[in-house]
Symmetry: C2
């Protein structure tokens, strides 16, 4: 791939936004990203839009032209990408390919989801479309049940990390207290987290991420073109993009305590960047459940298999630890606007790499990694960013 | 873009396939395409899958990993693209970008839709997600009503072409009689077509395309790599890909008797190929309604604005006319498996360019064009193929 720069970023407050429509969210985040890039909107040549399941949840498909119309971008080509919870990162990856192919120089990439207006059963049904409908969802399988099985297997192969899972949630909520865009800004004690009601054993309430409305957008550009554009921010480049897949069904995976798609995507991204796991200063990883974050940090090579829980217990993944994970608050506390999550991860990394993260700013932030899973780790996209 | 070759093609019979699941359709068409390419499936490096609204119609999202699992492709990266009825062509375009960027050499591209198991109201609601939900669908607007307004405006600006619209349908059904994959193989008289019940004036029953289950896949490759692979077929190359957009809403378009997205995508594709409209031997165009085909042939520069109806009346667009349009039978008679349509158009062009179209083979088939619209022409993708 060509060297690509991120010119601008924008996102909405995440949350239960009863008074905001999907169009509102898109308009706000898209406008912010273009303004932050400091370019005329006429320079945008294409729109890549990640969305998971707005057709079922809001009745709105074909979201690309909705974005271009809402932002006044004229006849630009648009596309929506979908790969469950990795939909936003897939939009970014498709945009990276088009810029790398020389097709476009300046592209708007976004992601959005509007979910909280629907009753819980409808949201659950909508989310279940990310698994195999016939073989899993139609049989009553749900994602909490799925990741509970994963956690139980992890406990069997390694050890019980229920307490460390609680610490993952604790860290997420502590970080979210410092992120004004976060959905749930509450100072929960570890004791309260660990004593919460069960959802699907061993997962309890705080082991599960949130249902969220929100949108995030970024403007990317061929780095040569970007260099000709004045910027008020530290310039952040995309130096690697990895993408791999796995079976849609849980039953067909080689392992469920380590995700094949994540390991393959990570290997691709590290090779492309010429970096090792130790070179990553901070990462936003896909903590749809707390056990998932522990597994993700192992798949990314930050910690040995089975040692992700120890790393949490030792404080390594906390805001000022050696390897800060989800400084934004993550899917757990910042929120999980499904199609928007991948782009919101990039928003956080750029904010940190620019040194603009305010109270949650980490000390050294030069290289950041975003890890975005779809479904039962059937899709994984990994993006590595570097500040100049 | 790089020069890209089409190594293999496969599609299912189109129709009301009550006994076939989405997975069945994917497995059949994907297997056929890989077999037709004459390669080991291990050479497939990525999957690009077009699907419009399976999440609402069947409960199944995240279709990329479903394809790779069904076909046994291992950990290959996958993505689903959606741009309403242009979803399939968008999958192809994203794949073209990735190959052009040098990311992959051999890629599987597909499209599928499973619709006919749902009651008509559900299908209508699902299809309406291709328009603006809040501003159009929620107000009771439907696509037949939308294209009826377009036809009425066309009649006002030019002349009444209701009879020529009937001839579009007649040609489509005559061509479909010769296409074994076509959904509706019936020898309708022009008189019967013209006397059919009204749907939304001036559109009557035969002016509307079909509701269809079906899937189509192709294998594409970097042309340099493709040249090292033995083939039993005439080699067909993708020599241009154009893509443009327009407002999602009908009300915001500059014109509704000529589609801005189609004209912009066509200009891009012709420039890329170094060709003029007169150089195109045959075209598959998006005849969601008969009036749309007439407008499309004008937008593509085959005929002057307002003269598309005359061209049909003169027989130019018939199977053995000077500019054969929709030799497959088109959306009108071959069928319209929404997410599969764009790839099924490519299937037909390749079949003709290879000289494999049997009874419907046209005399000169060296350069073919596929024109695929999404929604109310809010997305248009145009692809030009050339036989060697």
């Amino acid at each position: 791939m060509k060297k690509i720069s991120i010119l601008g970023i924008g996102e909405t407050k995440m949350g239960r936004l009863a008074d905001r429509s999907l169009r509102d969210l898109i308009k706000e985040a898209g406008t912010k990203a273009i303004e932050d890039a400091g370019i005329e909107k006429e320079r945008i040549q294409a729109v890549y839009m990640g969305n998971f399941n707005s057709q079922f949840l809001t009745g709105q498909g074909h979201m690309g032209p909705m974005v271009s119309e809402a932002l006044g971008l004229g006849n630009v080509p648009t596309v929506r990408t979908e790969g469950a919870c990795a939909s936003g990162s897939l939009a970014l990856r498709m945009a990276i390919m088009a810029v790398s192919a020389g097709e476009y120089d300046v592209v708007l990439v976004g992601g959005a989801e509007k979910m909280t207006h629907q009753p819980t059963e409808t949201v659950t049904t909508g989310i279940a479309s990310a698994m195999d409908f016939e073989l899993e969802a139609m049989q009553g399988f749900t994602f909490p049940a799925c990741f509970a099985m994963i956690a139980n297997r992890y406990f069997y192969e390694y050890r019980n990390v229920k307490k460390e899972m609680g610490m993952v949630a604790y860290n997420a909520h502590q970080n979210a207290l410092l992120n004004p865009d976060a959905q749930m800004q509450k100072d929960f004690s570890l004791e309260k987290i660990l004593s919460a009601d069960p959802i699907a054993s061993p997962l309890s309430l705080f082991d599960c991420s949130l249902v969220t409305d929100g949108a995030a957008f970024i403007v990317i550009a061929n780095a040569d073109v970007a260099d000709s554009i004045a910027t008020k921010h530290r310039r952040v480049d995309i130096i690697a993009s990895g993408h791999a897949g796995d079976s849609l069904t849980l039953a067909s995976k080689a392992s469920i305590t380590s995700f094949g798609a994540a390991k393959a995507a990570a290997a691709q991204a590290y090779a492309q960047a010429g970096l090792k796991p130790a070179d990553i200063d901070l990462a936003e990883v896909h903590d749809c459940f707390t056990i998932t974050q522990i597994i993700n940090t192992e798949d990314l090579g930050f910690f040995e298999p089975g040692k992700g829980g120890d790393a949490v217990a030792e404080g390594l993944t906390a805001l000022h630890g050696a390897k800060p994970i989800n400084t934004s608050g993550g899917l757990k506390a910042k929120g999980h606007p499904i199609g928007g999550t991948g782009i919101s991860q990039i928003f956080e990394l750029v904010t940190q790499l620019r040194g603009d993260a305010g109270e949650r700013q980490i000390r050294k932030a030069d290289i950041g990694l975003a890890h975005n899973l779809g479904g039962t780790a059937a899709t994984c996209v990994i993006t590595i960013l570097k500040g100049r």
